[in-house]
């Protein structure tokens, strides 16, 4: 599928949401750069990152939107939910309040995305097990009750970060294969890139600037 100007066949749009300081930007940075950014300025509005992955032999470009977590920014960030194929909902396992707010994040996500959007719950900061405030079982139950995928991850150590992004992509890809996700719908969050020549793009996947998340 490397013919044509694109060396990927799909673009999946993701969105990362969750309370402030749960580590959304760090998760994105860990995923795109494979390293932990300790001094990451807090996000104003939205940030953005990309990475090309492979699912079932298909190259897929993930286009990930990282949002500001403060409550008042929701008015701004709500417009980015539209057309997201995957939503990563993040909370901090050491802060219960971030877990308690999940249901409102979930409501927003359900209201603003389409039914085929894959929602993945991430309990971040799993490296700080000693300060844990939310048990794995509790969150797992919450995820099961709401039909979410779930994993505890650490943006610091990189544990499970890759998995969360990849599992989401697999699920989306599966939806495409099953025909549950309509590629032609504008809101699907998935773009199919045919091998036809288009406008040449300057940025091959190898060239990724430091994402300013």
């Amino acid at each position: 599928m490397t013919s044509g100007p694109y060396n990927y066949s799909y673009i999946f749009k993701y969105i990362i949401i969750g309370d402030m300081g749960v580590g959304k930007s760090c998760l994105l940075h860990q995923f795109t750069e494979k390293k932990f950014m300790a001094d990451c300025p807090h996000t104003i509005g939205v940030e953005f990152g990309t990475r090309i992955i492979e699912v079932a032999g298909q190259k897929i470009k993930l286009q990930i939107w990282d949002t500001a977590g403060q409550e008042r920014f929701r008015a701004v960030t709500r417009s980015y939910y539209r057309g997201a194929a995957g939503a990563l909902m993040v909370y901090d396992i050491t802060r219960r309040s971030t877990y308690n707010h999940l249901s409102s994040w979930l409501t927003d996500t359900r209201n603003l995305t389409n039914p085929s959007t894959v929602i993945f719950l991430i309990g971040n900061k799993s490296d700080l097990d000693g300060q844990r405030d939310v048990t794995y079982e509790e969150a797992k139950q919450f995820a099961d009750e709401n039909g979410l995928m779930f994993v505890e991850a650490s943006a610091k150590t990189g544990q499970n970060v890759e998995e969360a992004f990849l599992e989401t992509a697999k699920k989306i890809y599966q939806s495409i294969q099953d025909g549950r996700l309509d590629l032609n719908a504008a809101e699907s969050g998935v773009q199919h890139k045919p091998a036809a020549p288009g406008r040449p793009l300057a940025a091959p996947p190898a060239h990724r600037d430091n994402c300013a998340c």
Binding site: M20, I44, G45, V46, Q70, S97
Partner: protein, 798 residues
């Protein structure tokens, strides 16, 4: 603190460029007397700087006195600049002295040369004057009382602020150190602002602005400037929880882009690249997160002097600068370009960039119009949303009501079904009871039938036949043969019937084995059948009785006839009859013998006839039994059929009931789901309510601490009041003392007067001495009285 800033930020080359601008030079020509004054000032500054260095090097932030006058701050800034190795060039010195003059006479200069100052600011405020000039431009008045009271208070936003402190300028030297001076002052200012303006509280992004201010000035001043920035330049509305103003700015910017850079606007639209994606942070942080710090400082210079308009201009300038590249990029790369390459490009030539910024002219009227349009648009959207939500709400309410009604109906139905089932059960039990009763009845009826049959047979059993005439003998013989034939035939029939009976009985038994339901109609049918049979049996009984009487009559008649003719012959004579045929005696004897023979035959006939009758009765009986059994079989089969039907019906209704029950269960489940949904929602609500409660509790605690503080203050004031009362007392004492002193002075005066009077007497003896003495005594008396009065007063006061 200032020292830090200096090392991280090399002085801008602005100063040199100032002179290259002929406009400015002509404007900025400084008269010689002023120059002299500035030189003096400079010398003074140097002295103060040395002082400051000697005094407070370990604590650089103490260098400025908090309440420091304008000049002291300037002196410090210029002093630190002398510390650094970059000694000002003569041109810079000129510029500095110019700025120094402006700063000192800010108010008058501002009034006199407004445009000149604006242009000067546009060239960039010299780095060392920034702190001061920003304060002046903002018109901020630091109020240490207010600020220090805020510092002591606790803010609800503290946690949030803390979370972002380490994430504000994380790479900047001043803010890098965890819990260092920079972070601490940043936190203080943010917290103070969140307390000062509770509606805005803390908004992510404002930290960067505060950070920029703190790089130029101490906490209190930064706080004061922040307050004015927020109040005067739309920033406050931008950072409010609704962030409505930000949306408005985005709308305005989008329209401006459409006007100034139409191609870019259409390109962005085709890439569905919304303005808010790239410009939100520009407005919220005033470019501090996008551009380099020196450039951000220059933008802040102009922002403070010209307002939010500058942000639009800078945004448009940035887009203009990168227009060509942006047009060739797709959405992802546009964003990357706007975040990386474009700021670098603007940074590479700051003055050029700033010129570009100032070349953009904006139209205030147009902006206002845009604002109105945006508001209209927003209003429309909001109305739409409200309508939609109202619709949704009403639909939901309807659904809820419907669901509840459905549920109630379902419950009613289940109740009715239960009742029905119970009724059916009861009916079933009744039917079974009735069946048992009917079976009992059948049994009793059978018993009566059997009884009747036995009675009938006993009646039949009483019979005897007799007598036949001679003429009848042959006939009787023929009849006998026939009867025998009949008997044989009947016996065969009887056997056949018996077989059938046993068969039927077996069938009956097998039928009876099956559970037979009963019915009144069936029982009545059966009863009628039984009665019919009984009647039939009675009829046949009568018939038989008649026949018996007939036979017995015939027999009697025959016997009488016989006795009239001849006495009954003895059986011995019969043989002799044949021997004496010729003679009358013989004939008589023969006759006698023959009669004996007939008698015998008759007897035989009788017995056969009786047997025939017996056989007939038996036959009839058997036929009756067959009939009866057949009827019974029919009844049983009928019963079975009906029961089958009934069971089928019952089964059907049971199936239907089960189905309904299942449906109801499904519905019940649905309702349970709905219920659980509602419950979870309620839980969530209660959780939120709890959170709110906790927050409230926290606030209450805060308020309580406040209250206690106030109480403390109150106590203090009370004590102060007491003290003041005491002070009043002392004042009175002082008054008294003054009075005393006055009185003493009067005494002195009087004594002097007395002395003078005495002298006068010495000079003129002619004046009578007595008079004088009297006068003297009078004075003394007055004095004494006065002194005692004052003593009394003293006593009173003590």
């Amino acid at each position: 603190m200032e020292a830090n800033v200096v090392t991280t930020q090399p002085p801008t080359p602005t100063a040199q460029r100032i002179l290259t601008d002929p406009n400015l030079v002509s404007d900025g020509e400084i008269p010689t007397p002023e120059r002299a004054l500035l030189q003096k000032l400079e010398i003074e500054n140097k002295r103060i700087a040395e002082d400051a260095k000697a005094h407070c090097l370990p604590k650089p932030d103490k260098m400025h006195s908090r309440k420091g006058s304008d000049t002291s701050v300037i002196s410090v800034t210029s002093a630190t600049s002398n510390d650094s190795e970059t000694r000002p060039t003569p041109v810079e010195e000129d510029l500095w002295s110019l700025w120094g003059r402006i700063v000192i006479n800010w108010d008058s200069e501002c009034r006199r040369r407004k445009h000149f100052i604006r242009d000067l600011v546009r060239q960039g405020v010299p780095h060392h004057f920034r702190g001061m000039v920003w304060q002046l431009l903002a018109g901020a008045k630091a109020s240490d009382k207010l600020y220090s009271s805020y510092i002591k208070e606790k803010s609800a936003c503290e946690k949030m602020i803390r979370r972002d402190i380490a994430r504000t300028y994380p790479e900047h030297e001043f803010f890098k150190k965890k819990d260092g001076l920079g972070q601490e002052s940043l936190f203080n200012v943010m917290k103070a602002y969140s307390l000062h303006d509770r509606e805005v509280g803390y908004c992510q992004g404002s930290g960067f602005i505060v950070g920029l201010l703190l790089m130029q000035m101490p906490e209190e001043e930064a706080f004061a400037v922040l307050v004015t920035i927020m109040q005067q330049h739309r920033m406050r509305d931008m950072l409010k929880p609704s962030m409505a103003e930000l949306g408005l700015c985005m709308f305005q910017l989008e329209n401006l882009v459409q006007e100034f850079l139409p191609e870019l606007h259409y390109h962005f639209q085709s890439q569905s690249f919304a303005t808010s994606i790239y410009a939100s942070s520009w407005f919220l942080t005033l470019f501090t997160t996008t551009l380099s710090l020196p450039l951000a400082c220059r933008i802040m210079d102009v922002f403070l002097s010209e307002g939010i308009e500058v942000v639009f201009k800078v945004a448009l300038a940035l887009l203009t600068l990168g227009k060509e590249e942006l047009l060739s990029l797709d959405m992802e790369n546009i964003l990357k370009y706007l975040q990386k390459e474009l700021p670098a490009k603007a940074d590479a030539n700051q003055d050029e960039f700033m010129k570009l910024v100032f070349s953009i002219t904006s139209n205030q009227k147009k902006m206002k119009k845009l604002e109105k349009n945006c508001l209209r648009e927003e209003n429309r959207l909001l109305k739409q949303r409200v309508e939609l939500q109202e619709k949704e709400c009403s639909a939901l309410a309807e659904r809820l009501v419907k669901g509840q009604v459905d549920r109630a109906e379902g419950e009613e139905e289940t109740y009715a079904l239960e009742k029905e089932v119970q009724a059916l059960r009861r009916a079933n039990m009744d039917a079974q009871q009735r069946l048992a009763v009917a079976q009992d009845e059948i049994r009793s009826l059978e018993m009566t039938i059997a009884e009747k049959n036995s009675r009938q047979s006993s009646l039949e059993g009483v019979e005897k036949n007799n007598a036949k005439e001679d003429e009848l003998a042959r006939c009787l013989q023929r009849e006998l043969v026939r009867a025998r034939l009949h008997a044989a035939e009947r016996e065969a029939a009887e056997r056949e019937l018996l077989e059938r009976i046993t068969l039927l009985e077996n069938e009956n038994k097998s039928l009876r084995k099956q559970r037979v339901d009963n019915n009144v109609a069936h029982l009545q049918d059966e009863l009628i059948a039984v009665k019919l049979r009984e009647a039939e049996a009675n009829l046949s009984l009568k018939e038989l009785g008649q026949r018996v009487t007939e036979l017995s009559d015939a027999w009697k008649r025959h016997l009488q006839e016989h006795q009239q003719v001849i006495p009954p012959p003895s059986p011995v004579h019969s043989k002799v009859v044949l021997d004496i045929m010729a003679t009358p005696k013989r004939l008589l004897r023969a006759w006698e013998g023959r009669s004996a023979e007939t008698q015998k035959l008759e007897e035989e006939l009788m017995s056969t006839k009786i047997r025939e009758v017996e056989a007939l009765t038996e036959l009839k009986e058997l036929r009756l039994k067959v009939m009866e059994l057949e009827a019974q079989v029919q009844v049983s089969t009928n019963q079975l059929k009906r029961q089958d039907e009934e069971t089928r019906l019952l089964r059907d209704s049971l199936d239907a009931a089960l189905q309904r029950e299942r449906a109801l269960q499904v519905r019940q489940k649905e309702f349970q789901h709905k219920y659980s949904d509602l419950e979870s929602k309620a839980k969530y609500d209660s959780m939120q309510a709890n959170i709110r409660n906790m927050e409230d509790a926290q606030r209450i605690a805060e308020l309580e601490t406040e209250v206690s503080e106030y109480k403390m203050k109150n106590v203090m004031m009370a004590t102060e009041g007491e003290l003041r009362i005491n002070a009043d007392d002392s004042e009175r004492v002082r008054e008294m003392q003054e009075q005393i002193a006055e009185l003493r002075a009067e005494i002195m005066r009087l004594e002097a007067w007395k002395a003078r009077a005495l002298g006068r007497t010495q000079i003129s003896r002619a004046v009578s001495l007595e008079d004088d003495l009297e006068e003297d005594d009078k004075l003394k008396l007055i004095l004494r009285r006065e002194s005692t009065a004052s003593l009394d007063l003293m006593r009173k006061t003590t």
